[in-house]
Symmetry: C2
Amino acid sequence: MAESGAPTQRESMADRIYQALKEDIFEFRLIPGDKFSESDIAQRLSASRTPVREALYRLEREGYVDVLFRSGWQIRQLDFKQIEELYDLRITLERAAMHKICRLDKPPPALRLLNDIWNPDAPSERAFGSTVRALDESFHCELVAAADNDEMTQVHQRITDRLRIVRRLDFTRPDRIDATYREHAEILQALIANNPGEAAEKMTAHIRTSQEAVKGISLERIREVSQQHRRREPGRP
Amino acid sequence: MAESGAPTQRESMADRIYQALKEDIFEFRLIPGDKFSESDIAQRLSASRTPVREALYRLEREGYVDVLFRSGWQIRQLDFKQIEELYDLRITLERAAMHKICRLDKPPPALRLLNDIWNPDAPSERAFGSTVRALDESFHCELVAAADNDEMTQVHQRITDRLRIVRRLDFTRPDRIDATYREHAEILQALIANNPGEAAEKMTAHIRTSQEAVKGISLERIREVSQQHRRREPGRP
DNA sequence: GGTTGCAATCTTGTATACAAGAAGTCTTTA
DNA sequence: TAAAGACTTCTTGTATACAAGATTGCAACC
């Protein structure tokens, strides 16, 4: 998503730090279990502790880090139960979005736009690798957004962020990419045909298979990927 | 809810301030549109600006206040569209909870406990006024919690907090209280009979009627109630 | 070796100082 | 009277100072 055009004045230092840390987590530069202090971050990002604390507390409330009383901060461990619950919640929201979209007065333009991307008749246009990962994410987010409930969209966005790390580890096998294209197209077909029940069922199945693919992800696998990343672009942890 | 027994050390000043401000909002001591500065709050609560800022930023992210760049803070206006959306989201989550409860291996104990409270056969035990309001809130929260998805429970709790102000203005007419008892009992019956579809439909209808009752709430009405409260317990705004 | 006590260091939580800018006020001028 | 402009005051955003306690490393002792 591009920078929102809001006239909210310049981006604050705290926002910058928040974004930087979140990206550090998504890019495996900070991995579950890593410990650090506010001063570490402040020094690394050339700021004082105040905006760093603001960013960290925000990340804490969103579930990315833990604060240990007078003993530093830690990237929160990936909890399998929590991931399951987030997937369940995601399914609940996206199913509801399917029904809401079909109850709208007129079909949202997003349907046509998405159909252009995921149309199975234009296989030459297919993306791959990290691109299809980003496209998949925006497919789901834009469908929820099309349901026209900002609160739901925000909650869903937060879940999407939270699950991004594990979803990264999917989308490697070509057959999964093929399936993604096929399933997305089918979901859009059902929506365009104004068949919310079928869209919801297909969406559920689609998310569940992705969830299954991700189920085997262990902390070791993440650490492994993290090492690969670190070797490719050496930088401070 | 009583203080959680977590060994999380003492409650921080920032937490205290957060709670105090939230209560000020719920109790109409701070009403939409009110402006104030960090120093105001700090002085009133005998603290420095640092923990006040922490509390305020948390409230901002939860949607209760706005920060005006270098121009103070403001209690966020009640947005009708947002309230509608929150109600919609609430219905989505509680419907999902109905289905999840019926898919559990064994019915959760909460069902029996709630049935003791809302049993229509014991009309003598009925609560009224602010008590029934609190009971209604915990009825819905505990049902969602019984679905055994912590992430969903947390999101639902945040929505419940956010809607508390408008729900306060319901539960005045005795017929609404009667209906609440009847509808809650019916929902529990459907759940105990393992009929998720019926439970979901009855829940939807139940929430919708409460939403309708609240629909006419205007800012003026809130200001009015706020004045009554202020007259009853005079204190600093 | 294993353990205990102590002290130096590090950490967060809170308070305060400073900077850049917004807002309101008061004076001055036509 | 109305408007304009300078100035004072106030506000948040950031940096720094201080306090209480957690952690750790080391030395002394059994």
